[in-house]
């Protein structure tokens, strides 16, 4: 019997729709956006677009949609990976690709260890791989071998995060699970000791972010899910500390009787360093900006500047005159918690107030303006794609039997 491709979400062909992503350097020296296979970087110190240099023989740059882009904790590295099964590590000094790792499967999540020595990435079979980056600076290394670190049995891993103290690696999956694993001294031998499972979500877990305080160096983790909640966990015990029905809070559930059953998935979240504020992207959240709508596909806070960077956008949008598009927005004042004062501190910046101004927008977005409607169409298409990939299909017994009867492998057998 063949493995059902549906299980791994590999059924769709190469031109799968993908959300636009954003990543911000820890001290905002640069901002990166990924739209489809395009990795766009704007250097805020030089105030200019970066041109990436990739000499790897595997072929330069990405060939298919990027699914993850993020900076390492110390800002020296940027990693990008996705549907072309390549994991690329870039030096943020030279903007050279210093390592290209080939994965056997598409890559769904990555994380750089806090010391910058390792890159971990998850493939669509639920296996997390690790590669050591311990190489003299500037040396280009292609085709480095990754070794398996841990595995979620045949699930799709949606997010990987190191705890702030670097002692744990967290992995979240479509089977509602978050696993906290001790990150060992010799991780190339595998990470065998599971600290906890954080169980409570009732749909796929889509995103993780750590909150950090001095008393808890290992940090607390917040998770977002397809069940439209955000949950707070103690990773040492796996206990659920709090749950917030963000879908309800945003007034989305129940407001429309027809869709009461259809939760709006949390697609991304991020927090400010002291954990006083968590920003959440919901699939149907409508952020009103200048009367328009803004449904972010990716978010990141920069703690040093207190700016929340958001992008909305898509690639491979079928049947549209702009199949790939992106719009960047920035909110200021997120490093202070709102409750500290009565004054309205969070403010949406006008395009010309955004660091880098219009040249940054032109670089990251690809164009300065797009029509409103196309973003709504993009949001709708992304929602469908995410649910196809991550939501478990509930088959009734009848449907299941029907599927079995009409399966292709059976048909082939009959014809023989």
């Amino acid at each position: 019997m063949e493995d059902t491709p549906m299980e791994f979400g590999e059924s769709n062909k190469d031109t799968e729709i993908a959300p636009a992503l954003i990543a911000v350097h820890p001290t905002q020296e640069s901002v990166a956006a990924a739209v489809g296979p395009d990795l766009r970087i704007f250097d805020l110190r030089q105030n200019s677009a970066v041109s990436l240099k990739d000499d790897s023989s595997v072929g330069s740059l990405h060939k298919d949609s990027i699914r993850v882009v993020r900076y390492g904790a110390n800002g020296k590295l940027l990693v990008s990976a996705g549907d072309d099964k390549l994991v690329k590590v870039w030096s943020t000094e030279s903007w050279h690709c210093i390592t290209t790792v080939c994965s056997e499967k598409r890559v769904s999540a990555v994380a750089i260890s806090n010391d910058g020595l390792y890159v971990c990435f998850a493939d669509k079979f639920g296996v997390v791989w690790i590669v050591d980056l311990d190489r003299p600076d500037g040396q280009v290394h292609v085709g480095k071998k990754a070794v398996p670190l841990l595995s979620h049995y045949c699930s799709i891993i949606t997010s990987l995060e190191f705890s702030p103290d670097g002692k744990f690696i967290l992995s979240a999956d479509r089977d509602f699970k978050i696993r906290a694993t001790v990150f060992p001294k010799n991780p190339l031998d595998g990470a065998h000791e599971i600290q906890s499972f954080c169980l409570g979500h009732t749909e796929f877990v889509s995103c993780l972010a750590f909150l950090w305080t001095e008393e808890y160096p290992q940090g607390f983790v917040v998770s977002g899910s397809g069940d439209s909640t955000v949950r707070l966990w103690d990773i040492l015990s796996g206990s659920l500390l709090d749950a917030c029905e963000v879908g309800e809070k945003a007034g989305l559930l129940g407001s429309n009787g027809r869709e009461a059953e259809c939760y709006s998935a949390v697609t991304d979240l991020c927090s400010n360093p002291d954990g006083s504020l968590v920003a959440v992207a919901l699939q149907r959240q409508v952020v009103s900006i200048g009367g328009g709508t803004f449904i972010p596909t990716s978010l990141q806070m920069c703690s040093s500047t207190g700016l929340l960077w958001m992008v909305t956008g898509v690639s491979n949008l079928r049947g549209s005159e702009c199949p790939s598009l992106a719009r960047v927005r920035v909110i200021s004042g997120v490093n202070k918690s709102n409750s500290d004062s009565d004054t309205r501190e969070h403010q949406e910046l006008e395009d010309n107030e955004i660091p880098g101004g219009t040249s940054l927008l032109k670089n990251l977005q690809g164009s300065l303006s797009y029509g409103e409607e196309v973003f709504l169409a993009a949001a709708e298409a992304l929602k469908t794609a995410m649910s196809n990939l991550l939501v478990k299909k509930q088959y009734s017994t009848e449907k299941r039997d029907f599927r079995k009867r009409t399966r292709n492998d059976k048909k082939i057998k009959q014809r023989k």
């Binding site: 019997m1 299980e7 841990l150 049995y153 089977d175 599971i194 169980l199 009732t202």
Partner: protein, 252 residues
């Protein structure tokens, strides 16, 4: 018993369910998506459904008594039935992927409870994919014994990841097993026996039991004799390959 007479799936002479009414496919694919309910977390496992005599009402499930033995891929349940009377105060559960087989074991336990009042109250079965949902059933360090008797061999190299013992799954088993707990494996397939032994030997959280310890453990003798598969192998004079390991604390 009146009820049994009306029910052709139960044998008239023994009151036990007849296996032929529960015939099932030989193999299930553990990779395909599930259609059975899965507890959100170990707190959501309803002990009163499984062990009504120990837990008369659902809200008593917070008591300290927890499942300690798990028979993974329990098949028709022979091992559990032997263990139930050997450890009458220990709660144990079988995990089985095939629904018809699970139904059979359920009926078997109910019939034994009826025929032997007060006994077999500590044994139950659940239909689940153990390769995906072990952490949904057991907390960290909850189990003291885990059994993998005559698991499906999955010969082809590309199907090795379907095996119930693998270096990755051992990480999860180590998580649910307490330090000192024992994992029992046996097979009549030499290659699989080697594989299971190697996985266990190479894992930093398991160590082999010594031959004296194996000798002293009454459960070891049941491995080749108590289950339906074991009996079949014995009838055919087949060889068996055993690996019994203890969960240890990882060295720092």
């Amino acid at each position: 018993m009146l009820e049994n007479e009306a029910n052709p799936t139960l044998s008239k002479s023994t009151g036990l369910p007849r296996k032929r009414f529960y015939r099932a496919r030989a193999h299930s694919n553990p990779l395909s998506d599930s259609h059975f309910p899965i507890p959100i977390s170990p707190h959501h496992v309803d002990y009163s459904l499984h062990y009504p005599q120990f837990f008369p009402s659902p809200d008593q499930t917070d008591s300290s008594k927890k499942i300690q033995f798990a028979d993974i891929g329990c098949g028709f349940g022979g091992l559990l039935i032997s263990l139930a009377t050997l450890f009458p105060e220990t709660l144990m559960i079988g995990m089985e992927l095939r629904d018809k087989v699970t139904e059979y074991v359920k009926e078997r336990i109910l019939a034994l409870r009826t025929a032997n009042p007060g006994q077999y109250q500590n044994v139950s079965v659940v239909r689940t994919n153990s390769m995906k949902y072990i952490p949904n059933y057991f907390e960290k360090g909850q189990l003291s014994k885990m059994f993998f008797l005559f698991p499906d061999p999955h010969f082809k190299e590309k199907n090795h990841r379907r095996r119930v013992i693998s270096r990755f799954l051992l990480d999860e088993y180590a998580y649910v097993l307490q330090v000192g707990a024992v994992i029992y494996t046996i097979t009549d397939v030499e290659e699989l026996g080697e594989w299971m032994k190697t996985c266990l030997k190479e894992h930093p959280m398991f160590e082999a039991l010594t031959s004296q310890e194996l000798e002293a453990d009454p459960v070891v003798k049941l491995l080749s004799s108590a289950t339906e598969e074991g009996q079949k192998v014995a009838r055919n004079g087949g060889q068996t390959f055993r690996a019994v390991y203890r969960r240890i604390a990882p060295s720092l």
